[in-house]
């Protein structure tokens, strides 16, 4: 593996972000930012599953919880960069977009992609999460102690 661990961490972050992006959103941002480059499939989009594991008692021995659907693909740009995607659900278009972005992030347009696709996407997803967390917080019980009788 030629990637240094720093590069791996960056790559892990954007691939993880793209995997969780709402349907069609990454594509809309990418197409708003630039024309898509030509590419060749190394692995055409393919739908399969991943066995989700968990731990007994949250921290103990692992067990198989059940599967989730996953779409994956791999492609290479004419300039040689390889892009991979593994994303939740049955979403071939989104997998293609994610793999393209993954490949383009290894080229000189990475900074442009970061500001026009990844950062807005992350901001939108953070806002959506925060809105949900705020609704949960509003259902938090504020206990107040009643005056207790003393003997």
């Amino acid at each position: 593996m030629k990637d240094t661990s720093d590069q791996s961490n960056f790559r892990k972050a954007w691939m993880s972000l793209l995997a969780k992006a709402p349907e069609g959103r990454a594509a809309a941002l990418l197409d708003g930012a630039m024309a898509r480059p030509a590419f060749t499939w190394l692995r055409a989009p393919e739908i399969g599953s991943t066995m989700v594991r968990a731990r007994a008692g949250a921290t103990g021995a692992p067990f198989n919880l059940g599967e989730m659907t996953v779409t994956r693909c791999a492609l290479t740009l004419d300039t040689g960069e390889v892009g991979h995607a593994y994303i939740q659900g049955r979403r071939k278009e989104d997998a293609q977009t994610a793999a393209l972005i993954d490949a383009l992030m290894q080229t000189e347009v990475s900074q442009e992609l970061r500001t026009s696709v990844l950062e807005p996407l992350e901001a939108e997803m953070t806002t959506a999460k925060a809105a949900r967390a705020a609704k949960a917080a509003a259902t938090k019980v504020d206990f107040f102690t009643m005056v207790r009788g003393e003997d």
Partner: protein, 362 residues
Amino acid sequence: MYVAVKGGERAIENAHAWLAEERRGNTDIAELGIAQIREQLSLAVNRVMAEGSLYDPDLAALAIKQARGDLIEAIFLIRAYRTTLPRFGASEPVDTGAMACDRRISATFKDLPGGQVLGPTFDYTHRLLDFKLAADGDVPEAPARAAETGDVPHVTGFLNREGLIEEARHDDTPPRDLTREPLEMPADRPLRLQALTRADEGFTLGLAYSTQRGYGRNHAFVGELRIGAVPVEMDIPELGFAIEIGEVTLTECETVNQFTGSKTEPPQFTRGYGLVFGQTERKAISMALVDRALRWEELGEDNVGAPAQDAEFVLYHADNIQATGFLEHIKLPHYVDFQSELELVRKLRREAGVDQVQEAAE
């Protein structure tokens, strides 16, 4: 045993056509969309994902539509579809401590770090039919309040610090998988948990209830119940590192059970564990109670002969697709078997002289 019979193709085709028509119902009424089922019948969707053992809300919604709302039939459709998917691998064990909690309550500690968060629960509703729902209407936005950030710690961790509760010791043994190898006894805890998380909700609930009523009582408190989304991380062989491939909503229940100790274990609290796909609270609590009941042997407790303590009984009867398959097959033609039974009964009656007695009476 049933015997294949030929014929009936046209009747079957016509039955399918009528089924499709009945599924659609009165065409003056708007047709249900998959998105409507996914968004508005989400707890049914969650049950189908949990027991179908496949996390995909759109597929579960489609299955519910196709099954006309028969959830076990929908689960059957999901299980059948699941077998057609190539499996890309297994995830890293999810970290429920990092859950973005929609709900998080404890019945054992009032003031716990992170607080009691009720979430979108039925618990404090009056269970009175709300006729306003029969009319269309906009729902006002739920109130919001500034949320604390950071992970919400598990309640069992507090007890653990004092050594009052058994530890769930870290372990990295790859678990057996009952979708790949037939279920064999004895089943270790990871295998039991896999069987329970996809088990029929009604069966699991009934067994859990039986332990509460005294058949293998284990004095369970809900130490913690949490519902929320966790990321799923998988190691990608061609990359050489793990990435998050998505996010699933889970319900986790940890029970804290009284335990007076045994020959091998000191007096302490013990734990039952429930973890289920989706918002599936009743199932997760039931799973935790049954998990704890099944642990009698490893904790050195007595087997009092309760159904919930009998791993073979529980695990071989918990799967509603196996159960419904075997149950419903008896409605298929058994003409030859029955013919032989008929002959046998006639012969026995002749031997017993029953028919002659009847003739004489007439």
